[in-house]
Amino acid sequence: MDRQTQDWLLRLMGVGLALLLSALILLALGVSPLEAVVLLFHGALGTPGDLAAVLTAWVPVLLCSAGLLLTYSSGLWNIGIEGQIVMGAVFTTGMLRLVQDLLPPPLALVLGALAGLVGGTLWAVLAGLLRLYGNVSEIFGGLGLNFVAGSLVVYLVTGPWSRPGTGTTSGTIPFPPSLWLPAFPGFAVSPVELALALVALVLVGIALRGTHFGLRLKAIGKNLRSAFLLGVPVNRYLLAAFALCGALAGLAGWILVVGASARHNLFPLISSGYGFLAILVVLLANLNALWVLPISFFFAAISMGSLELVYERQLDSAVGSAIQGLLVLSVLLTQGLQRRLLEKRAGREKARPPTEEEPAAD
């Protein structure tokens, strides 16, 4: 068997493994896997409305993935992205509440977007400062800040921003349709959302490929110490990566409030796990901006399609993300296997020094 066939077989094996495990889980829950596939597909692409829902989920995932390409390529694990989305939504809501009666809607929307950018950036920079000047791993800093942002929303929604007379967690008063992004006629997705997400991804892709900034970020990600010794202002670059990623996440938060098919208000769990989903997307895409496009669409389709499965078969709503997780884990494991086999082949040709050490973190 030649190398390419073997590589493709391994890749297929990864996906096959994920499908097999998913099927086993569905069987354990008493759902026929074939029926589940039909429901999933139908839920995702059955009607134009379903497709609109998939695209609506795709946009925030794309924006976050674009941001995460920057942090991930500089070696950072921006797990705080969920909180950054939430803070984007919080700042957007705050700004819109402030200006909705004073300014014309388009201007209010733009100010809302700027506020969202600021909110996401602030939260990301906070995690960045903790990491760079306090030695607190961005994983813990970001995660802690996620919980803080989540509780802030619950506080706002039940306290100062609650609907008059009620203190429920269902969210703030929805904004009027004048503050919704305009949708395509007859298709509840806004061209503005789609355009912003695609432009963000293209810009990040170009930045990583052909600019000084991107190359330096990647150099830091490959070897922070050498980059520092070669005179790259490491801290400034890492903070910039955090800030840009936070800004894009904040923009996603803005879209989750004002988007054509959004709920048009602030509510707990508004980030819907899109940030974590984007982490999985970027892991699978392996830093390739082009691959982000189909993978994030596929994942958005699973997320939305699985809702039909959940509804029809009374399953827990986590079933979609469980399938996504199985897929990513299987692919990662087979990728590792592939690389090991490759090394073995190379090793047979040329023996390696015995105890060379390498950090496992990429």
Binding site: L29, W77, Y133, I139, L329, Q335, T355, A360
Partner: protein, 327 residues
């Protein structure tokens, strides 16, 4: 509140966090990070409860939870040690995956009443005033958690394999040169650590907060991971951290009812800013701005402060997260 009752309730509520922290300490001491704790605790809590419910007994439930914990840890070990994938990547994916699996597979068990670990005072000793009430008027998992702290400490510092374990995390290449089977031992300690985390999960669903429901134990795994850092990878300091955390949690519950004006969302969130601040405190020395700040203080205060900070500083095992290459 009566101090005796307070201490007894802290001890009673500590086993889940304590087992998880001890397990992860062992795993990381061997050089492997099992980042999946937050999900693993959920999945093992669910599995333990489900098996206990079906068998009608807590012992099979506890064993099943430990098995599941070891299984997840096995994937971490396979990915990291055999396939040499970045530990954070697989760990994070597993965090999400185990959480989702817990919710999906645990759906039929939500809010179903089930068996619990029974309260078992030790005869005679429980009658002992104060100390007996705190230590011996508890249930088996609490006694086991106390024994586990001592056992882990003795193993790590007083036995030969324990000293080898420290070498695995500090200088894997040297341990290998001395004849330790590095990869096999790392596998072993990762599995063992995972089983202890599973025991922690079972202690949640069968003892501290009996039953299974969505989002019941979410977030606690991250706290446990942070406590391992606070504990400086030392079982006693880690155990102290776990008890401190549980004590604060118990206090917060009391405060919450005493302070009705403070919004109720504040209290469940408190652990997380506290986690960040604590990590900051134990990792901050060496930062330039800290030294500059200290230099401005009067000498007496400076000495006290810098000594306190030095004492609190933590240093991870040198080989943590690294996989030695060997052909």
């Amino acid at each position: 509140m009566d101090l005796t009752i307070f201490l007894a309730s802290v001890l009673a509520a500590a086993p889940p966090v304590l087992f998880a922290v001890l397990g992860e300490t062992i795993t990381e001491k061997a050089g492997v990070i099992n980042l999946s704790l937050d999900g693993t605790i959920l999945l093992t809590a669910m599995a333990g409860f489900a098996v206990a419910l079906h068998t009608g007994s807590v012992v099979p439930g506890i064993l099943a939870a430990m098995l599941v914990g070891a299984l997840v840890a096995g994937i971490v070990a396979l990915a990291s040690l055999t396939l040499r994938l970045p530990q954070v990547a697989t760990g994070f994916v597993l965090t999400l995956l185990t959480r989702d699996l817990a919710y999906v597979l645990g759906n039929p068990y939500v809010r179903v009443p089930g068996p619990q670990v029974p309260h078992t005072p030790v005869p005679l000793l429980a009658e002992w005033p104060v100390v007996g009430k705190i230590l011996f008027d508890q249930d088996p998992l609490v006694y086991l958690s106390l024994v586990a702290i001592v056992l882990v400490w003795v193993f790590m510092f007083k036995t030969r394999p324990g000293l080898m374990l420290q070498g695995l995390g500090e200088q894997p290449a040297a341990a290998y040169a001395r004849g330790a089977e590095v990869v096999r031992m790392r596998y072993l300690y990762t599995l063992l650590g995972g089983a202890l985390v599973g025991l922690g999960g079972a202690a949640f669903s069968l003892l501290v907060a009996p039953g299974w429901a969505r989002q019941k134990f979410e977030g606690i795994g991250w706290i446990a991971l942070a406590i391992v850092i606070f504990g400086n990878w030392h079982p006693l300091r880690a155990a102290l951290g776990a008890y401190l955390f549980v004590a604060l949690q118990t206090l917060a519950t009391t405060l919450q009812s005493a302070m009705p004006d403070v919004p109720t969302q504040v209290f469940p969130t408190l652990p997380f800013p506290l986690m960040i601040l604590t990590l900051l405190l134990v990792t901050v020395s060496g930062a330039d701005w800290m030294n500059r700040l200290l230099a401005r203080l009067p000498p007496g205060l400076r000495r006290v402060l810098s000594r306190t900070i030095q004492m609190l500083q933590t240093v991870p095992p040198a080989g943590l997260g690294k996989v030695p290459r060997r052909e």
